[in-house]
C-alpha cells in the first residue's frame, strides 16, 4: 500500500497550464476518482503520478519517498488504459506475464501468478489467443490482469471503461470495485462519467481548468456541491439552476416565481443562482414550500417519470417524480419542495452560499 501526496503539482505545456498547483492527498488503500470534462487536467494529473509526464513544478510523494523525478518503471505503479494497450504481438499469457518477466521473476512463479490472475478474471480459456482475437470486454480484463499480476501498491486507471458498451461497463464497474476491496491497494481512477465516479469512489476530486473544484465523498459532492459547476456536472438529469435574487421577505425571487428558503440563509437583495435537483420534489405537504407549474412534457422511465414543467416567470424545470403520479401533458400541478434541499450559489463567484 502507498499513500500518494501531490504538493503544488503543476504541468505546463509552453504557455498553457494543464494542471495548476494541485494539492491532493490520497490515503492508503483509498479509491480516488478524478472527475471532470475533457481538458480539465485529470489525465495529465494521472500521468504525472505514473511518471509518464514530466512534472513542471511541485512535489510528488509515495508515502514518504519523493518520486517527482523517478522514471515510471521505478515507481511500482500499474496502469490500465482506455485503449487497453495490449501488446498485439504477444499472446494473452505473454501480455500478463510481461511485467513479471521484466522483474526477472522465476518462471514457475510467473506461471502460477498468470494462472491465478486469469482464474480470477475468468480469462483462463483465452491465454493462448492474441489480443486481436478478443472482444473489447475480454481485452479490458486482460489489461486488468496485466495490472494486478504484479501486486502493485498503486493502481492508475485512465477511463478504462469508456470504450465498452453500456451493459459491459456495468459489470466491469463492479469487477473493479470487487478488485479494490480484495487488493486493498490505492486506486486513482480518471473518468468523465459521473455514474462511475459516484459508484466507485471513496472520494471524488472534481476538476476543471487544471484546478480541483471540490474534493469530497460522493455523497458530499452530490448533496453539498461547492459551486454551480460541480452541481451541474453530477446528477442525471442535471440539476436545475435558476438565476434570481433574494427578495426582502427572505424568499427566492425570479419574475413571478417565489420560493421559500431556510430562514436566514442569505441576506436580502443578493444575486444568487438557485439549484434544485430533479428528484427533490414531493407532493405538497405542510412544512414544504409549494410550487405551481404547468407540465409540458412527460417521459416515463419505468421506475419513475421525468417531467418538463414551466413554473411562474417562465422558468423551465426538469423534475423526477414517482411513476404512481398520474400526470398528463398540459396539467397544472402543485409540487412540494423542502427548503433544506435547495442549493444556493452566489451568482458572481458561483460558489455555494
Amino acid at each position: 500500500m502507498a499513500a500518494i501526496t501531490c504538493e503544488k503539482l503543476t504541468k505546463r505545456y509552453g504557455s498553457v497550464t494543464a494542471v495548476d498547483r494541485l494539492d491532493l492527498a490520497i490515503g492508503h488503500g483509498e479509491f480516488m476518482v478524478l472527475l471532470g470534462p475533457s481538458g480539465c487536467g485529470k489525465t495529465t494529473t494521472l500521468n504525472m503520478i505514473a511518471g509518464l509526464e514530466e512534472i513542471t513544478d511541485g512535489t510528488l510523494r509515495f508515502d514518504a519517498t519523493d518520486v517527482t523525478w523517478q522514471p515510471p518503471h521505478k515507481r511500482e505503479v500499474a496502469m490500465v488504459f482506455q485503449s487497453y494497450a495490449l501488446y498485439p504481438n504477444k499472446t494473452v499469457r505473454e501480455n500478463i506475464a510481461f511485467p513479471l518477466q521484466l522483474r526477472r521473476t522465476p518462471r514457475a512463479e510467473v506461471e502460477r501468478a498468470v494462472a491465478d490472475v486469469s482464474e480470477q478474471l475468468e480469462i483462463a480459456h483465452l491465454l493462448d489467443r492474441h489480443p486481436s482475437q478478443l472482444s473489447g470486454g475480454q481485452r479490458q480484463r486482460v489489461a486488468l490482469g496485466r495490472a494486478i499480476v504484479r501486486k502493485p501498491s498503486v493502481f492508475l486507471m485512465d477511463e478504462p471503461l469508456s470504450n465498452l458498451d453500456a451493459a459491459l461497463r456495468l459489470s466491469m464497474r463492479s469487477l473493479i470495485k470487487h478488485l479494490h476491496q480484495r487488493l486493498q491497494a490505492t486506486f486513482v481512477y480518471v473518468t468523465h462519467d459521473q455514474a462511475e465516479a459516484m459508484t466507485l469512489a471513496d472520494r471524488i476530486a472534481v476538476m476543471r481548468g487544471g484546478l480541483i473544484q471540490q474534493l469530497d465523498t460522493p455523497d458530499g459532492i452530490y448533496s453539498r456541491p461547492a459551486n454551480t459547476f460541480v452541481a451541474s456536472f453530477l446528477g442525471s438529469p442535471p440539476i436545475n439552476l435558476v438565476e434570481g435574487e433574494i427578495a426582502a421577505d427572505g424568499r427566492f425571487a425570479r419574475g413571478a416565481l417565489r420560493l421559500d428558503l431556510p430562514p436566514g440563509a442569505v441576506a436580502p437583495g443578493r444575486a444568487v443562482t438557485l439549484g434544485l435537483r430533479p428528484e427533490d420534489v414531493a407532493a405538497p405537504a405542510p412544512g414544504l414550500a409549494s410550487l405551481e407549474a404547468r407540465v409540458t412534457l412527460v417521459s416515463p422511465l419505468g421506475s419513475e417519470t421525468l417531467l418538463e414543467v414551466v413554473a411562474p416567470g417562465d422558468v423551465a424545470l426538469t423534475l423526477r417524480v414517482p411513476k404512481e403520479w398520474r400526470v398528463r401533458h398540459g396539467d397544472s400541478m402543485t409540487f412540494g419542495i423542502d427548503p433544506a434541499r435547495l442549493h444556493l450559489f452566489d451568482r458572481q463567484t458561483e460558489a455555494r452560499l
Binding site: N47, L52, H73, F81, Q82, A85
Partner: protein, 306 residues
C-alpha cells in the same frame, strides 16, 4: 458484373492486358536482354537481326569471369581472340570477383550500421519528448537536400586527409551518410503510427527506453526494418559516383566500378559485360525474393498511417 453488356467487358480486359504487357516489356525487357545476351557469344549478340533468345546456351562468359585470374591479358592475347567472337577479356576482368566481395562487405556493413543508427535516432525523435526534437529532425533531413555530386570534392578531401582513400571503411561511412537520414525519416513515421499507449504501458510495466524499443517498437515495425535493411543494402550495392572517386584499385573497388571499367577504349565485349551484369543483380534479386512480403508493407508504411 452479371448485368453488364459483354462487349465493354471484353474491351476492358483487352485494354488491361495490352497495357500490362507494355509495362512488363518496359520494365523487364532490359533485364531479359541482359540475361539472354550473357549466354551468347559476342558474334551472336551483335548479329542483325538480334537473337532475342540464345541460339545455344553458352556459359563461356561466366567461365571467363570465374577464371579471369588465371588468364593472362596482354596486347597479344587480346588480339588472338577474334573481337567478333568474344574471346576478348578486358584487363580488369580478374578484379571482378574480388570487387564482388568488396560490394558484399560494404553492403552488409551499411545495412547493419544503418539500421542500428537509424533505429535509435528514430526512437529518440519519435518517442522521447526533448527540447529541439523537431529541429533535430529537420537538420537530419536537410543533409539530404544537398545533391550528392556537390559533396564529392569536400568529401574526397576529408576522406583523403583521414588517410581512408581506397578503404572499404570510407565507402561504408559515406553510404551511411546517404541512407541514415532517409531511414530515420521512414522509421519515425512508422514509430509514430504505433499507438502511444503501448509505449506508456511498457514504461509502466517496467521497461526503460531500451526495453520499450526492444519489446514494443522493434517487434511492431518489422516491415519497416526489413525495408530499411534492403534499401540500405541496395543503395550501397548500386552506388557509383562516390565509389569511383574514393577507391583506386582492387583493394576497395566495388562491382559497379569494375564493371564500368570493362568498357574499354580499344574494344568492348558486350557479352562479357552483360555476364558481369547478371552476377551483379543476383544478390539484390535474392534479397527481394526473400523479403518481398515485408517490403511492400514497409514501403507504403510511411505514406499512410494506421
Amino acid at each position: 458484373m452479371a448485368g453488364r453488356p459483354l462487349a465493354p467487358r471484353i474491351g476492358r480486359a483487352v485494354l488491361l492486358a495490352f497495357f500490362s504487357a507494355l509495362f512488363v516489356l518496359y520494365v523487364a525487357g532490359p533485364v531479359a536482354w541482359l540475361v539472354s545476351s550473357s549466354l551468347q557469344t559476342e558474334a551472336q549478340i551483335t548479329a542483325i537481326p538480334p537473337n532475342w533468345l540464345p541460339p545455344e546456351v553458352n556459359f563461356g562468359n561466366f567461365d571467363a569471369i570465374l577464371n579471369a585470374a588465371e588468364r593472362q591479358v596482354t596486347y597479344e592475347t587480346r588480339r588472338q581472340g577474334d573481337p567478333a567472337t568474344g574471346g576478348f577479356l578486358p584487363s580488369g576482368a580478374a578484379n571482378l570477383i574480388p570487387s564482388l566481395w568488396n560490394s558484399l562487405t560494404v553492403g552488409l556493413w551499411v545495412a547493419a550500421l544503418n539500421l542500428l543508427l537509424s533505429v535509435t535516432a528514430a526512437y529518440a525523435i519519435a518517442v522521447i519528448d526533448f527540447r529541439g526534437r523537431r529541429a533535430t529532425l529537420y537538420t537530419v533531413l536537410a543533409t539530404r537536400v544537398v545533391p550528392d555530386i556537390a559533396l564529392i570534392v569536400p568529401l574526397f578531401l576529408v576522406i583523403r586527409n583521414l588517410g581512408l582513400i581506397n578503404t572499404l571503411g570510407a565507402l561504408v561511412v559515406t553510404y551511411l551518410a546517404i541512407t541514415v537520414p532517409f531511414t530515420i525519416f521512414i522509421l519515425i513515421s512508422y514509430f509514430e503510427g504505433i499507438p502511444r499507449d503501448l509505449y506508456r504501458a511498457a514504461r509502466i510495466d517496467g521497461c526503460g527506453h531500451w526495453g520499450a524499443l526492444r519489446h514494443v517498437y522493434l517487434p511492431l515495425s518489422l516491415p519497416a526494418l526489413v525495408a530499411s535493411l534492403t534499401f540500405a543494402f541496395l543503395t550501397s550495392w548500386n552506388e557509383f559516383v562516390f565509389a569511383l572517386v574514393l577507391t583506386q584499385n582492387v583493394a576497395a573497388q566495388t562491382l559497379p566500378i569494375v564493371i564500368s571499367g570493362f568498357v574499354m577504349d580499344f574494344t568492348t565485349s558486350f557479352s562479357f559485360v552483360n555476364a558481369a551484369g547478371v552476377i551483379a543483380i543476383i544478390p539484390p534479386v535474392l534479397m527481394a525474393v526473400l523479403f518481398q512480403r515485408y517490403i511492400v508493407s514497409g514501403l507504403t508504411a510511411g505514406a499512410v498511417k494506421g
